[in-house]
């Protein structure tokens, strides 16, 4: 879905947004509540400049608008694969973005993220995955890596991976798979503003994402519980 179309569905005409390259930021109003909007568009690659700009928007909202919820609009094809970015410490810039979002959340600027385009790898991890609530549109794409590239790196024939991906949600791209594994809370098929209302309410009422998505990954949850509680 195009960003303008998405914003109209969420806020009717009650929003204002600015573009700086692939980064978007602004405000939207729903039920007389102001939300901050921060995100990317055009399947942005998250380079260090992008990460820094996103972090700047987060810090500004936390500093200037205590308690204002933030809607994170996710559309990224992942981190920029660049030797120059690595040279300058790309991991440090993405970590900074994650830390800014965590402090926002902790200070009461609740975070709802919506994957409306692509959510890929490190670009998704350091941004959209840090939210209290993580949702996706039906035509969104979420993945760590596409199957053909995966086949090359893993040295497993593509046909084998395609066959396996039909039965296992654990490595194949797709929002349904992330939904089954608890990486995404829900998919919003239509009436998006209603879903946003519900997500905001849940984020504010609970604000405890660390427990929110348990129960969908039995294996991981069981291991976490054993390690947490076993006597050494």
């Amino acid at each position: 879905m195009q960003l303008n179309e998405l914003l109209r569905e969420l806020f009717s005409d009650d929003y204002e947004i600015n573009y700086q390259g692939d980064v978007v930021a602004g405000t939207g109003t729903i039920d007389e509540q102001q939300l901050a909007i921060i995100g990317t568009t055009a399947h942005a690659t998250i380079g260090i400049e992008t990460a820094l700009l996103l972090a700047q928007h987060v810090l500004t909202v936390v500093r200037s608008h205590p308690g204002r919820p933030i809607l994170l609009l996710v559309d990224t094809q992942g981190q920029r694969l660049s030797r120059r970015d690595e040279l300058l410490g790309a991991h440090g810039y993405l970590a900074h973005l994650s830390k800014c979002l965590e402090v926002a959340r902790k200070q009461g600027n609740y975070l709802v993220s919506l994957v409306y385009g692509e959510g890929v790898s490190g670009g998704f991890l350091s941004f959209g995955m840090m939210a209290d609530e993580i949702h996706a549109l039906p035509d969104a794409q979420i993945r760590v890596m596409g199957l053909p590239a995966m086949a090359r790196v893993m040295k497993i024939p593509l046909e084998r991976l395609q066959a396996l991906s039909a039965s296992s949600p654990v490595f194949a791209p797709g929002i349904e798979n992330f939904l089954r594994l608890g990486g995404v809370d829900s998919i919003w098929p239509h009436r998006l503003s209603n879903h946003l209302r519900t997500a905001l309410k849940r984020a504010q009422e609970h604000g405890k994402y660390e427990q929110a998505r348990t129960g969908r990954r039995q294996l991981a949850d069981n291991v976490i519980k054993r390690v947490r509680e076993d006597s050494a």
């Binding site: 970015d85 300058l88 991991h91 970590a95 800014c100 654990v170 992330f178 594994l181 390690v227 050494a232």
Partner: protein
């Protein structure tokens, strides 16, 4: 290398040896050890070998008499990659730390990042680890990343490292987001020649990371040196709030403004005012730190 030397090298040791030598003698108690045989069902499905610890060792121990929790990724199994069980063990350890409030949490990171064979579960696991670390930061429990192994520390684990209070590296350590091999495979050898070892270490190695401010301590490749640095870091719980992040933001902005047009570390080091920058990769740890100190005092840092 003689056996006694090898026993002390962090780089040469495996995860179990690192943990044993890092902590007070005999103090390590493993949680969910190999005898429990919690292996990856996803690797089994692909008919690939599994490990009884899924490539990470976790437990409790003492460091200079201080109670710590520790995780060490095994470089020899699937590149230290984070699968579902591997990630859940680390997440469980971090949650345990939140409840038991040890003097610190040590993460011996040696990983290429998410395990592609279970990529979705791995990415979600890294997100949980990231959150777990940040919860500990809020709680004021020092998190210390130690990086000096054969895989380096890349992918999501590179982000995890920089969410810790302190990053300790050796010259041999590498820290970044996208590993050189990944960049070469996807973006081409002209973007990053992963087989050019001098280029790799000059770009993402310990010395570069230390001078850039991405690592707080640079130590020789010796487990005893890592131990001493980790012990000192137990008293360093850095503040984690809006003001601290605004300050970090300025640092990262300044770095980009100062060095954003550099295409090689030597340019950065020259611009920092380091004499004989091209000789720096050759210096031993002590001599290198002596040179580094001169620019840090000049900067007033």
């Amino acid at each position: 290398m003689s056996p006694s030397l090898a026993a002390h090298s962090f780089y040469e040791a495996n995860a179990r040896q690192r943990v044993a030598a890092l902590l007070d003698t005999g103090s390590f108690q493993e949680l969910l050890g190999p005898q429990e045989r919690v292996t990856s069902p996803h690797l089994r499905k692909l008919e690939l070998p599994v490990a009884f610890d899924d490539g990470v060792i976790i437990g409790t121990g003492l460091l200079g008499g201080n109670k710590v929790l520790i995780a060490a990724q095994e470089d020899g199994f699937m590149g230290g990659s984070v699968g579902e069980v591997h990630g859940a063990k680390i997440t469980g350890l971090l949650q345990r730390a939140l409840a038991s409030r040890p003097q610190g949490v040590l993460l011996l990171l040696d990983s290429g990042g998410v395990r592609l064979h279970e990529a979705n579960a791995g990415l979600i696991a890294v997100a949980h680890i990231l959150r777990g670390i940040l919860q500990l930061r809020h709680a004021g429990i020092p998190c210390i990343a130690l990086i000096g192994g054969t895989n380096g520390c890349f992918g999501g684990m590179g982000i995890v490292a920089r969410c810790c209070d302190t990053v300790i590296m050796s010259e041999e350590g590498r820290l970044g987001l996208s590993g050189p091999e990944v960049i070469e495979t996807v973006a081409g050898v002209e973007e990053f020649d992963a087989r050019d070892r001098a280029l790799v270490w000059r770009t993402v190695g310990g010395k570069q990371r230390y001078l850039l401010g991405e690592a707080q301590r640079l130590v020789p490749d010796d487990i005893a040196a890592f131990r001493a640095a980790a012990l000192a870091a137990l008293t360093l719980s850095s503040s984690f709030d809006l003001s601290a992040l605004e300050a970090e933001h300025v640092v990262l902005e300044n770095r980009l403004a100062r060095f954003g047009d550099c295409s090689d570390t030597l340019e950065i080091w020259n611009r920092m005012g380091l004499p004989d920058a091209e000789q720096l990769p050759l210096l031993d740890n002590e001599a290198f730190l002596a040179v580094a100190t001169t620019i840090q005092s000049r900067r007033g840092a």
